[in-house]
């Protein structure tokens, strides 16, 4: 299977032959930054279009279909439009924190985004405590959300931010514990190592029932962490207009929108990496011909196929179920998901030891 490390090594060698080592390193850093930025922006555009199109089909209508073929340039047009909108300042808001909130939200999602192994040899950050890093950095978003709600000095924003904070921190426990079940199984926290271990069988098959339970819980908790679907309490538009970003306008609202969609993608990508084998092709023990055929499909096709499958699940859930109440939401986490998670973790440890 072709590896992206060949490409990066070629770039490295070319740059080093052209200029000094220090400059080569600098140019590589700039290239990494630009690559992360472009991937982030393009994925956001694609995700927004996919969401609107899928939503349209779920509601028996066509969705965007005017700008370009099947409306594929709709989100580009929206992005240009949102840049041209006025940034309204609120008189009594905390101006500095109001601006800082969007920085926090984007930093939280872009730093997590860079740690995902997209294809063979294509991973920007590969810490040996990768799972820990993903959990830690992705929870920066809640700081941004609380700041946004507090600094707006508006009641809707405040209530939305408080609900969102309670919901995000609650569901973070479940997502952490369900990822821990996979760490128990693999014995490593490095994301590239975890993917490499799934070369013969994906963890969701290798881990028997506990891995499957952990997968389902991770999808539910991740879905709640993105503030979407039946868990969109913080921005319940019929009661809070739009929650913590009520007062934001123009591109500042765009940042929250962007981060929400990218977080959905990141949750799906982490689920793919941890449970569905990342970029590894589907291998079945003993079926040599089948395995050889599967190896021909490039690794990024596998990764994005599985990730968009998880994204589709998230959209399906979002447009199918009615919204929960805040007490139902917190009950679901503290009285159902977390006890199951704790038992599941011990169960996984027993399965591994036996």
């Amino acid at each position: 299977m072709w590896s992206f490390s060949e490409l990066t090594e070629w770039i490295d060698a070319t740059l080093r032959s052209l200029m000094g080592d220090g400059w080569a390193l600098f140019v590589e850093f700039v290239l990494i930054g630009v690559a992360v930025l472009v991937a982030y922006a393009v994925l956001a555009l694609i995700l927004i279009w996919v969401e609107r199109k899928v939503c349209g089909f779920f509601q028996c209508r066509l969705g965007p279909n005017r700008v370009g073929k099947w409306g594929i340039f709709q989100s580009v047009a929206d992005m240009i439009k949102i840049l041209l909108k006025e940034l309204i300042r609120i008189n009594r808001s905390d101006k500095v924190l109001f601006r800082m909130a969007s920085f926090f939200v984007i930093i939280g999602s872009i730093c997590t985004f860079a740690a995902i192994p997209f294809a063979k040899g294509l991973q920007a950050i590969d810490f040996n405590v990768g799972v820990f890093y993903v959990l830690a950095v992705s929870s920066l978003g809640v700081v941004g959300i609380l700041l946004a709600g507090w600094s707006s000095n508006s009641k809707y924003s405040m209530i939305g931010a408080m609900r969102s904070g309670a919901q995000l921190i609650s569901y973070e426990i479940s997502s952490g514990l369900s990822l821990m079940a996979i760490v128990v199984l693999s014995g490593s926290m490095q994301l590239s190592e975890i993917v490499a271990q799934q070369a013969d069988t994906w963890f969701i098959f290798k881990g028997h029932i506990p891995a499957f339970i952990a997968f389902v819980i991770y999808l539910i908790a991740g879905h709640a962490e993105t503030n979407r679907g039946p868990f969109d309490m913080p921005e319940a538009e019929s009661e809070l207009t739009s929650g913590y970003h009520t007062e934001y306008s123009g591109i500042q609202f765009g940042f929250f929108y962007l981060a929400e969609y990218l977080n959905m993608f990141i949750i799906a990508a982490v689920a793919t990496t941890m449970f569905l084998g990342g970029w590894q092709p589907l291998h079945i023990a003993g079926w040599d011909g089948f395995n050889a055929v599967m190896d021909y499909i490039p690794s990024f096709v596998w990764f994005f196929g599985k990730t968009f499958f998880c994204v589709f699940l998230a959209l399906w859930v979002r447009w199918t179920f009615p919204r929960l109440r805040i007490d139902q939401l917190l009950n679901l986490e503290w009285k159902v998901l977390m006890p199951i998670c704790l038992v599941n973790l011990i169960l996984m440890a027993i399965v591994v030891i036996l």
């Binding site: 390193l25 590589e28 850093f29 990494i32 930054g33 992360v36 930025l37 982030y40 922006a41 840049l83 041209l84 006025e86 940034l87 309204i88 300042r89 609120i90 008189n91 009594r92 969007s102 920085f103 984007i106 930093i107 872009i110 730093c111 860079a114 920007a124 950050i125 799972v131 959990l135 000095n153 508006s154 009641k155 809707y156 405040m158 408080m162 904070g165 309670a166 921190i169 973070e172 426990i173 952490g176 821990m180 760490v183 128990v184 014995g187 926290m189 009520t246 007062e247 500042q252 765009g254 940042f255 805040i326 007490d327 917190l330 503290w334 006890p339 704790l342 011990i346 591994v352 030891i353």
Partner: protein, 117 residues
């Protein structure tokens, strides 16, 4: 090339993305002032008082509980990594740890901290 350096690069990238987009928007976007525009968005009548006020205690209880269980997650991750080497002994130790925490959760549940009033 170390991971930490790349992490810094990504951090700067995020700052640049937000900063550049904000600057572009400030440059392109129209600007008009109007005393009513700066009011907070509520139901139409002038807002009463500030929103920086005391909030219900329920959120605080959940935050405390979250702290307990998140620290637990942090403590369990190292065990999860070396689970195979520690074997049954480690599992029994962690089992006691988890049982104590579960008792704490049961206590909070019984006391009504998880009830949304």
């Amino acid at each position: 090339m170390t991971n930490s350096a790349v992490f810094l690069v990504v951090l700067i990238t995020a700052f640049v993305l937000v900063g550049a987009a904000l600057l572009i928007a400030m440059w392109l976007a129209p600007r008009s002032t109007n005393p009513l525009k700066g009011e907070v968005y509520e139901c139409g009548i002038p807002t009463r008082g500030t929103s920086w006020m005391q909030f219900r205690v329920g959120y605080y209880l959940f935050a405390i509980l979250y702290l307990v269980f998140d620290v637990e997650t942090v403590l369990l991750f190292p065990w999860a990594t070396v689970m195979r080497q520690m074997g049954t002994d480690g599992l029994i130790c962690v089992l006691f740890f988890v049982i104590i925490l579960a008792l704490g959760l049961a206590y909070a549940w019984r006391k009504g901290a998880l009830k949304w009033k």
